[in-house]
């Protein structure tokens, strides 16, 4: 049977109604046999389109070939050449629009499960510890400060430490990982995995300091005064957006950032075993249609809600969330209130949320984003009863660091202006990448930006600005 006709290996998963009430990871991972069978489907294209679809250009046919041959240690070594966070990327990348979206097999049948294979190789290595970490170039004596410890920063730190530079990573929270630890839930990305990938970087010599809020505890200029030769800003876009409709400050209306930070970083789902509480709604409404909305809604389900509604103003086709997450959410019984927009929050005399007045929408002509513009249907208002509302409509640039760095050029929305190919900002010695430059995007795009900035920083440290 030719590879194209062999079916794609299905990922074993926890059954929907079981997993909807626990925080264990949903997909269980391939067995070695499944991984070899799936890897054998790869056509080993001469000009692999999958690699072009990968923002960090992992040698995809290269690592898959090793898996097909059963050389799992060689497979992870191959991935590490381009990607320092494979266990993360294998889980959270939108493969369907990147590597797998370009796979030749996908044109006539099902694409190779590249994400699942990447995850397999990374998990296999974490369990067996056989592969040596990539070796470091000779020390250059140059020091780079990397601000924030999310995916773009971790990529910069990894690339530069291998090139022989000294790297100091600064994190404002008490744990490293950025959005990987505060934003993405345990059932989608176990925090131990992030911890293990950060520990790898530390083993390679990256020094990590948590509880340092750059912009408050120390400024960018002070980092230069303290002897850093270059600074990379990978601080994300952590400013929650609200809809600015009446009743937004009622008790029971939370930003997705707050809800997910309580649940993920503070592990509030274990309260009272841990000390941080989290509101447990019986009827929960989540506003938005992206990955953050899916994560919030599925978390609410796991915290014991009777009903969780996703309120999104466009149709299912326009939902920006990863397809796998929408599918998982549907399987877990989430209620999709599509073409529906909140108008105001309703509360009781104790200032607690009791419901949301919503209005039905219909799709009109495409707007600037290319998506059809939602238009209100007059007279279609109705009340969605709920005792908890989570606002997941996006985030903006957090001004904390940029305000303390007055000579750093920003655009009109407060994002840092940086060259798209190099990450260079308008301030000498400072690079930026990830969400603080582009606005909220994906883990892998942030890593792609980190890769380009690391190359540019290395060039600067070697040859000058």
């Amino acid at each position: 049977m030719s590879a194209a006709k062999t079916p794609r290996q299905a990922m074993p998963e926890q059954p929907p109604l079981v997993r909807a009430r626990n925080f264990e990871e949903v997909p269980l991972g391939y067995t070695a046999e499944q991984a070899v069978a799936e890897a054998s489907r790869c056509l080993q294209c001469k000009n692999p389109a999958c690699v072009q679809g990968c923002p960090v250009n992992v040698d995809i046919p290269g690592f898959i070939k090793h898996i097909a041959a059963g050389d799992f240690d060689k497979a992870i070594g191959k991935i590490w050449e381009r990607n320092s966070l494979p266990a993360v990327c294998g889980r959270v990348c939108p493969q369907e629009i990147q590597c797998e979206g370009n796979c030749l097999l996908g044109r006539k049948g099902e694409a190779v499960a590249i994400g699942n294979l990447e995850r397999f190789a990374a998990d296999w290595e974490r369990q067996h510890h056989v592969c040596e970490l990539p070796s470091r170039d000779a020390a250059t004596g140059k020091r780079v400060a990397v601000v924030g410890s999310g995916p773009s920063s971790l990529t910069v730190a990894s690339d530069l430490v291998l090139k022989g530079h000294e790297v100091g990573l600064f994190e404002a929270f008490h744990k490293p990982g950025g959005v990987l630890v505060y934003g993405i839930p345990e059932f989608r990305l176990p925090k131990d995995i992030v911890g293990a990938e950060v520990a790898c970087l530390q083993a390679q010599g990256v020094s990590l300091e948590c509880d340092v809020v750059v912009g408050r505890t120390v400024t960018v200029d002070e980092l230069f005064e303290q002897g850093f030769d270059a600074v990379y800003l990978g601080v994300g876009a952590g400013l929650p957006k609200f809809m600015r409709i009446p009743g937004e400050n009622l008790v029971g209306v939370l930003s997705a950032n707050e809800y997910l930070t309580r649940a993920n970083l503070m592990k509030a789902y274990l309260f009272p075993e841990v000390d941080t509480p989290i509101p447990r709604g019986k009827r929960v409404a989540v506003l938005g249609g992206g990955n953050v909305a899916m994560d919030s809604a599925r978390t609410a389900m796991r915290l014991g809600a009777d009903k969780v509604s996703l309120v999104y103003r466009r149709s299912r086709e326009e939902m920006p969330a990863r397809k796998a997450e929408i599918h998982h959410a549907e399987e877990e019984g989430l209620d999709f209130q599509l073409l529906c927009n909140p108008v105001r929050y309703l509360g009781d005399d104790k200032g607690r949320l009791t419901g949301i007045e919503c209005i039905r929408m219909e799709l009109g002509e495409p707007d600037a984003s290319g998506r059809r513009r939602p238009v209100e249907v007059p007279g279609s208002e109705f009340v969605l009863e709920c005792d908890l509302a989570i606002v997941a409509i996006g985030s903006g640039a957090n001004p904390l660091l940029t305000r303390s760095t007055p000579d750093l050029p920003l655009n009109k929305w407060g994002y840092v202006t940086a060259n798209a190919d190099t990450g260079k900002t308008g301030k000498k010695g400072v690079w930026a990448g990830g969400d603080i430059v582009t606005g909220a995007a994906t883990v892998i795009l942030a890593m792609g930006a980190g890769r380009k900035a690391a190359d540019s920083i290395h060039e600067y440290l070697t040859w000058g600005w």
Binding site: V213, R216, N257, E258, F271, T276, P277, N398
Partner: protein, 279 residues
């Protein structure tokens, strides 16, 4: 890092002072700013406004009342023990205008936050009248320090066990009646700040309050610390903690502060029960 180098008990052990090693923060902190502290791995992130900083020693000082599980865990830390995490300095520093005639009003542990501000204002050449109060004599803190930081100090207790019997607002009213007050600073329980602000508004005297809403990160990321000020939503952590008392929606703040009351009570009970069981 974050080792406790000095610990004092006040107000009969219900109020604790911790002087903590945190050189980076001590070098940067200004009056009015706050810290976030976390006792241990599973601990909550608790915001507390600094009572003191010593850049030379590299220490910061917080004074807090033991009210729930987290502050109970803080209380159990002795000299030589360390907080797992101390983050700061956060928030905006106090804006001090030299040469003003200021009345500083403090209630309960709010006096700890008020003290560096009063001292800063006096050092800037302000005429500082302070009015501090508590439920009873035992709960009054920092009387001596406030006396040094003030031109004139008034003390009130609810039960009359010390100083004048009654609320701080009564003394304040007399001062406002007498006139010549340029600014009022009020720091203490939310109802006290509310009533002070209502009173000073009648007299048209600008009033600054320091708020302590529920928050997690303290860097503008979670939005949990939303307060309505002048009809607009502000974040206590990055826009505050100090705001114009005449503009703050105190009733909303009081409701929001109660969001987790029930869970906090359970957690605290459980914590006391566990300590009892271990002893």
């Amino acid at each position: 890092m974050f080792t406790i180098v000095n610990r004092e008990e006040m107000a009969g052990g219900t109020v604790i002072l911790n002087e903590i090693e945190a050189p980076r923060i001590a070098a940067k902190a200004r009056p009015g700013q706050f810290l976030i502290l976390k006792a241990n791995e599973n601990g909550e992130r608790i915001p507390l406004t600094m009572a003191e900083t010593d850049p030379e020693k590299g220490t910061v000082t917080v004074i807090y009342m033991v009210v729930g599980k987290s502050t109970e865990l803080f209380r159990r830390l002795g000299v030589g023990d360390a907080y797992q995490d101390v983050i700061g300095p956060l928030g905006q520093p106090t804006h001090i205008e030299p040469g003003k005639n200021v009345v500083c009003v403090g209630g309960g542990t709010g006096v700890a936050v008020l003290h560096p501000i009063a001292r800063g204002m006096k050092q800037a050449g302000c005429d500082v009248t302070s009015i501090i109060g508590s439920r009873n004599r035992d709960l009054l803190i920092l009387e001596d320090k406030m006396r040094l930081a003030s031109t004139d100090l008034h003390i009130c207790t609810d039960d009359g066990s010390y100083g004048r019997k009654g609320f701080v607002t009564e003394v304040l009213k007399e001062k406002l009646e007498a006139g010549g007050v340029d600014q009022v600073v009020a720091i203490g329980p939310v109802p006290m700040m509310k009533f002070v602000s209502l009173m000073t508004r009648e007299y048209g005297v600008p009033t600054m309050v320091s708020l302590n809403p529920i928050m997690i990160d303290g860097t503008g990321m979670c939005g949990g610390c939303r307060v309505t000020v002048g009809g607009e939503t502000k974040f206590g952590c990055v826009d505050g903690p100090e705001f114009d008392g005449h503009q703050v929606d105190f009733d909303e703040l009081i409701l929001r502060l109660r969001a987790y009351t029930e869970q906090e009570r359970c957690s605290h009970e459980r914590c006391k029960w566990e300590e009892g069981g271990a002893a």
